[in-house]
């Protein structure tokens, strides 16, 4: 067995099988009732709370993904086409904030969005508002803003790589054939950078859907996501089988959404081509 395969087996496959097996058990006091049952899955399907939390998670991380990609595309574009010296330096500088701990960045946003935070005190000093804006913190918006910033590095890198790879002579050809900058962008640059866009979407959407710490610190009661609920099952609620089931259900949903997304972009690309 090659080392890669061994690591994959021990690090991913075995834990996954354990998770899968536990998801078919039932909690029994402090132990497990190991009789096989699909009760947890029935509950996950029938009780509205789980569906609602999943929906909310997909909504929050979907919006966060969109915002991140929209914000990062121009940055990657600039470096790929308009920076000619020290490109790597630019990329390193752009990703520099992401070398600090994720938790620290989330806390930083708590300070920025807080009741007496940077934004609120700034707006109040300027005189635009007299009462601090309460929705800035402990809301879904707060979670989206933070996720969009915290995962930016994961969008910039694939976007930059795919933009960088574009053959510049194609752009010149488009210009020679009469395309203006806008038409050129939509007909050449964007379609050719789609692999980067798709990669960025996946890299952000998949991990943020199950994100735990951001909604826990910034979400408040209405910003809680499925990750928080899964954590509770393994912690305070003390129902590991249910937690395992929810993790599996989340994984299945993400796979499904990813497949649909991939299918749509394939179709779109075929149409353009």
């Amino acid at each position: 067995m090659s080392p890669t395969l061994a690591i994959m087996t021990v690090g991913i496959l075995v834990p996954f099988i354990i998770l899968l097996v536990i998801s078919f058990w039932t909690r029994d006091g402090f132990g497990f009732d190991t009789t096989f049952t699909t009760n947890n899955y029935v509950r996950a399907w029938s009780e509205p709370i789980f569906g609602a939390l999943l929906q909310r998670s997909f909504w929050i991380s979907g919006v966060a993904t969109l915002v991140t990609v929209l914000l990062c595309y121009p940055m990657a574009y600039y470096v790929a086409f308009h920076v000619h010296r020290n490109k790597m330096m630019w990329i390193i500088l752009m990703t520099l904030p992401f070398w600090t701990s994720y938790l620290l960045r989330v806390f930083a946003w708590k300070v920025i969005l807080g009741y007496e935070g940077v934004i609120n005190s700034g707006l109040m000093t300027v005189g635009l508002i007299d009462q601090p804006l309460e929705f800035l913190l402990y809301s879904q918006e707060a979670v989206i803003i933070t996720l969009a910033h915290a995962w930016a590095a994961f969008a910039i890198l694939p976007l930059y790589v795919s933009l960088e790879k574009i053959d510049k002579s194609l752009l010149e050809a488009a210009t020679d054939l009469g395309d203006g900058p806008v038409a050129r962008f939509f007909r050449i640059t964007l379609p050719l950078s789609m692999p980067g866009v798709i990669a960025a979407c996946f890299l952000i959407f998949i991990p943020t859907t199950g994100d735990y710490i951001t909604p826990a610190l910034l979400g408040g009661p209405d910003g809680a996501m499925i990750g928080n609920f899964i954590q509770l099952q393994f912690g305070r609620v003390n129902n590991w089988p249910m937690g395992a089931t929810l993790s599996i259900v989340l994984m299945l949903w993400i796979s499904l959404i990813a497949l649909v997304f991939l299918f749509i972009t394939r179709k779109a690309q075929e149409k353009i081509a």
């Binding site: 790597m88 009741y115 309460e134 003390n238």
Partner: protein
């Protein structure tokens, strides 16, 4: 791979993509392994590990320990005792942990702890016997599993300048619609659910009945839209009260005492329905790797020095009767304390141990309510 070479290459614009990825990989590996080695370094030496609530991980409570062993114990923090028990049940081994009377019988039943040999504690003779004599502890004529350490109340801390009181102080304050989105609550059902029971008028003796569940769930649901955030982190509540983001929140004694010492105009309410009262203490893990130091941790917590700090700086009751001799009756009354702990504990609603099933059902229900269901 030489870092200076890399930086040179970056400056000359010659860093290849391959090199760059290698650099990223190295940085990534370094970042993920650094905390591990740092954690090991912190855990090295033979100090005991104290698994406790936030706020007890401070040097002030471990002066005797430090004097004896030359270092502080290691700390690990939990947000609620149910979370702590689940974590230890999952294999997390510590030396000493910190449950409360209500959870104690279930903690003992988990088989994760060892009885305390009180003869090894120099401060034991000063510990108030009423606090040791609790259900699940020595009261049943059995072992001493928990050495009582702190006792206090869960009540409402409110801004006297911002919260307009209507009539007497009451739990209704945390259900006051005038202050929607400006009220806070502890996230743990071990506090919030019991406070909900007081608000709903449920006698703690009946708290396990279906009817009680429905009644309490109803008041918790009613409160939920008014709550800005539920948190286990008392600092979050304290900061929110101090900035005026919240005008009232469910807290323990310490939050009010700390805020007062900062000059924030707050009061720890004495609700007309009665506050929630509890006794917490320390237990020793059955596989405690540093048993001698574990006893040092407990002895240090039970010392008069620590007690003085607990009363003066946190406003909690302490289990060492001599700690109270440092204060006059007026100061104690001002803090809502007394030399006779049961005068205070019985005046409020004293938490009672419940079964594991109850605990699980309660947490499940409460988490659903918090999530909006």
């Amino acid at each position: 791979m030489d870092v200076v070479d890399q930086l040179g290459a970056v400056r000359e614009g010659k860093l290849s993509r391959r090199k760059f990825t290698q650099g990223l990989l190295a940085a990534g590996v370094a970042m993920t392994t650094l905390p591990v080695s740092a954690r090991r370094a912190a855990a090295s030496g033979d100090e005991a590990t104290f698994f406790t609530w936030g706020g007890y991980d401070i040097p002030e409570l471990f002066k005797p320990y430090e004097a004896k062993n030359g270092a502080l114990p290691n700390f690990s923090i939990f947000g609620g005792s149910e979370e702590a028990l689940t974590k230890m049940r999952g294999g997390f081994v510590v030396d000493v942990s910190h449950p409360c009377n209500q959870a104690l019988p279930r903690w003992v039943a988990s088989g994760l702890f060892q009885p305390i040999d009180v003869t090894r504690l120099s401060n034991w003779s000063d510990v108030m016997p009423e606090l040791v004599d609790l259900p699940g502890n020595a009261a049943d004529g059995g072992n001493v599993w928990m050495a009582p350490f702190d006792w206090g109340q869960t009540s409402v801390t409110y801004r006297t300048d911002m919260f307009e009181l209507e009539g007497e102080e009451s739990w209704d304050m945390l259900w006051d619609k005038r202050y929607a989105n400006r009220l806070g609550s502890l996230a743990s059902g071990a506090d919030a659910w019991w406070c909900g029971a007081i608000k709903a008028g449920v006698d703690f003796a009946d708290i396990a009945t279906d009817e009680a569940f429905e009644k309490i769930a109803a008041v918790m649901r009613e409160q939920r839209p008014l709550i800005r955030t539920y948190t286990d982190d008392t600092t979050t509540l304290e900061q929110a009260l101090s900035s005026g983001e919240m005008v009232a929140a469910m807290t323990w004694n310490s939050s009010a005492t700390l805020l007062k010492s900062e000059g924030v105009p707050v009061k720890f309410a004495a609700p007309k329905e009665g506050a929630l009262t509890w006794v917490c203490g320390v237990v020793i893990h059955k596989d405690a790797p540093n048993l001698d130091r574990a006893y040092d941790v407990i002895d240090s917590l039970l010392s008069v020095e620590s007690g003085k700090f607990m009363i003066n700086d946190y406003g909690y009751g302490h289990s060492n009767i001599k700690s109270f001799d440092e204060f006059d009756a007026a100061t104690l009354q001002d803090l809502g304390l007394s030399k006779n702990p049961f005068e205070i504990l019985e005046a409020g609603h004293f938490q009672q141990p419940q079964s594991q099933d109850w605990e699980t059902r309660m947490n499940e229900t409460f988490e659903q309510i918090k999530a909006g269901f």
